[in-house]
C-alpha cells in the first residue's frame, strides 16, 4: 500500500480532483462551443454540485478556466486550458443539457467524462460543403441588405462559399486564426470583385465588402458585451480585443484586394 492511500483527507482530495476535472471539462467544451462566461460557469457549477461538491468557486480567463471545489473541510483548486473559441450551437446545447442532468444527481465523474466523449463523438455537424454554400448564401443575402445589385449576388455567393471552404481547410491545418482572416479577406474580396466586375455589376466595391462578411465575428462581439454586463469584464475585454484584431486583419486583406482591383469604396 502506498503512503497516504488510507488517509481520508487524501482520498477525499482525490475525489474532489475528479469532480473538479469533470466540471472543468464540461465548462471547457461549452466555452469552446461559443457559450458566454455566465453559461460556462453555470455548466461547471451544475456538474460539480451534482457530483457532490458542496461549494464551488470559478474564475475564467480567455484561454483558461479555474475551479475551486469544497466538501466539508477539504478544498482543492484546479485549472484547465481552453482551446480556440468557436461556435457550435448543437454541442453547446448538449453540454448544457448534460450539466442539467448531472446537476440532478446520479452521475459519477467517470460517467460525466464518458458522456462528454460521446457528445464530442456523436453530436452531428453539417458537412463542410453545406456550410460553405450556406455561408456564401448568407454573404450574398447580407450584400443585398447592404445594397449590392442583383448582378453581384451570385459572385458574392461563390466568393463567400470558396472563402469559407478555404477558411475551414486553413484552420484545420492549424494556421493562426488572424493570418487565416487576412488571407480569406483578400481571396474572397478579390474573387467577389472579379466576379462582380465580370458580370457587369455597378456595385463592385460593395460586393467585395459583402464577400468577406463571413469573417465578421458577430457572436464573439455580442458575447464580449454580455460577459461585461454579467460581471466578467476580463474575458469580455479580451473578446473585444480579439474582435478588433479580426477586423484589423480582415480590413488589411480587403485593402490589398481593393488596391489590386483598383477599386475605391
Amino acid at each position: 500500500m502506498r503512503e497516504g492511500e488510507d488517509d481520508p483527507v487524501i482520498t477525499r482530495h482525490r475525489d474532489l480532483e475528479k469532480i473538479a476535472n469533470a466540471a472543468l471539462r464540461a465548462g471547457r467544451v461549452a466555452m469552446e462551443s461559443g457559450a458566454n462566461v455566465r453559461a460556462v460557469h453555470d455548466v461547471c457549477a451544475a456538474v460539480a454540485r451534482g457530483l457532490g461538491a458542496e461549494d464551488v468557486g470559478l474564475r475564467s480567463g480567455y484561454a483558461s478556466l479555474s475551479i475551486t471545489v469544497s466538501a466539508g473541510e477539504n478544498t482543492i483548486t484546479r485549472m484547465s486550458s481552453v482551446g480556440r473559441l468557436g461556435v457550435n450551437q448543437r454541442l453547446d446545447t448538449e453540454v448544457r443539457r448534460l450539466a442539467g442532468r448531472v446537476g440532478g444527481g446520479g452521475f459519477v465523474p467517470a460517467s460525466v467524462h464518458g458522456e462528454i466523449d460521446r457528445l464530442l463523438r456523436e453530436t452531428p455537424r453539417h458537412p463542410s460543403w453545406l456550410v460553405a454554400v450556406a455561408t456564401g448564401t448568407a454573404c450574398a443575402a447580407f450584400g443585398r441588405l447592404l445594397g449590392i445589385d442583383w448582378a453581384a449576388f451570385l459572385p458574392v455567393l461563390v466568393a463567400g462559399a470558396l472563402g469559407q471552404e478555404l477558411r475551414h481547410r486553413l484552420l484545420s491545418a492549424g494556421v493562426n486564426v488572424f493570418v487565416v482572416v487576412g488571407i480569406i479577406a483578400f481571396v474572397a474580396a478579390t474573387l467577389g470583385g472579379i466576379g462582380a466586375r465580370t458580370v457587369g455589376s455597378s456595385t463592385v466595391a460593395m460586393a467585395m465588402m459583402a464577400s468577406i462578411l463571413l469573417l465578421v465575428p458577430g457572436v464573439p462581439a455580442t458575447n464580449a458585451q454580455t460577459d461585461i454586463m454579467d460581471g466578467f469584464p476580463t474575458v469580455g475585454s479580451a473578446r473585444a480585443v480579439w474582435v478588433i484584431m479580426v477586423m484589423v486583419f480582415a480590413s488589411a486583406g480587403i485593402w490589398l484586394a481593393l488596391a489590386l482591383m483598383g477599386v475605391t469604396l
Binding site: A39, D92, A134, T135, F142
Partner: protein, 162 residues
C-alpha cells in the same frame, strides 16, 4: 369608396425584401454555427422579424442604432416567449436572428478610411477622418444597441439557464 394602396406597396416590398434577406442571412450563419434543423427554422424566423422591425424603424426615420435596439429587444423578447420550446438554445437562437444586423461593413469602412489616412499622398483628409470616425461610432453604438437589446429582456426574465 376605394382605398388606394399603391403608395404602400413600395415600402411594404422594401420591408419584405429586407426581412427575406435577413432570414436567409440568419439561416446561413445558423448553418455555420452548427444549428440543428429546428433551431435553424427558429433562427430564420427571428432573422426575418429582426430585419423587418429594423427596416420599419429606419423607414420611420429612426437612427440605425435606435432601430437596431428596437429590433434586438423585440427578437430577444420573442425568443423568451418561446423559451420552453427553445430550451437552452434560447439566447443563441435570438442572437443568430440579430447577426444580420451586425454592422461589419461599417467597421471595414472605418478601418479602410484610417488606412487611407496613412498613405503618403492622402487626399481629402478631413472628409476621410469624418467618415471613418462616423462609421466607427456607428459600429460601436449599433453593436452596443444589439447587445443591450438582447441582454435586457434576459436579465429581466432570468429564464432557467441549463
Amino acid at each position: 369608396m376605394t382605398i388606394d394602396l399603391a403608395p404602400l406597396a413600395a415600402p411594404a416590398l422594401h420591408v419584405l425584401h429586407q426581412a427575406f434577406f435577413g432570414a436567409v442571412a440568419a439561416c446561413g450563419f445558423g448553418v455555420l454555427f452548427n444549428f440543428g434543423p429546428r433551431c435553424l427554422a427558429w433562427a430564420t424566423g427571428f432573422g426575418a422579424v429582426a430585419l423587418a422591425i429594423r427596416t420599419l424603424g429606419l423607414d420611420a426615420r429612426w437612427s440605425l442604432e435606435a432601430a437596431s435596439f428596437a429590433a434586438a429587444v423585440a427578437t430577444g423578447s420573442l425568443a423568451l416567449v418561446f423559451r420552453r420550446r427553445l430550451g437552452a438554445a434560447t439566447e443563441t437562437i435570438a442572437l443568430a436572428g440579430c447577426i444580420p444586423m451586425i454592422p461589419g461593413a461599417f467597421f471595414g469602412q472605418a478601418l479602410l478610411g484610417f488606412f487611407a489616412l496613412t498613405s503618403p499622398d492622402a487626399v481629402g483628409v478631413e472628409a476621410t477622418v469624418f467618415q471613418s470616425i462616423q462609421a466607427l461610432l456607428r459600429v460601436i453604438f449599433t453593436l452596443g444597441a444589439i447587445g443591450a437589446g438582447l441582454a435586457i429582456p434576459v436579465h429581466l426574465v432570468r429564464p432557467g439557464r441549463l
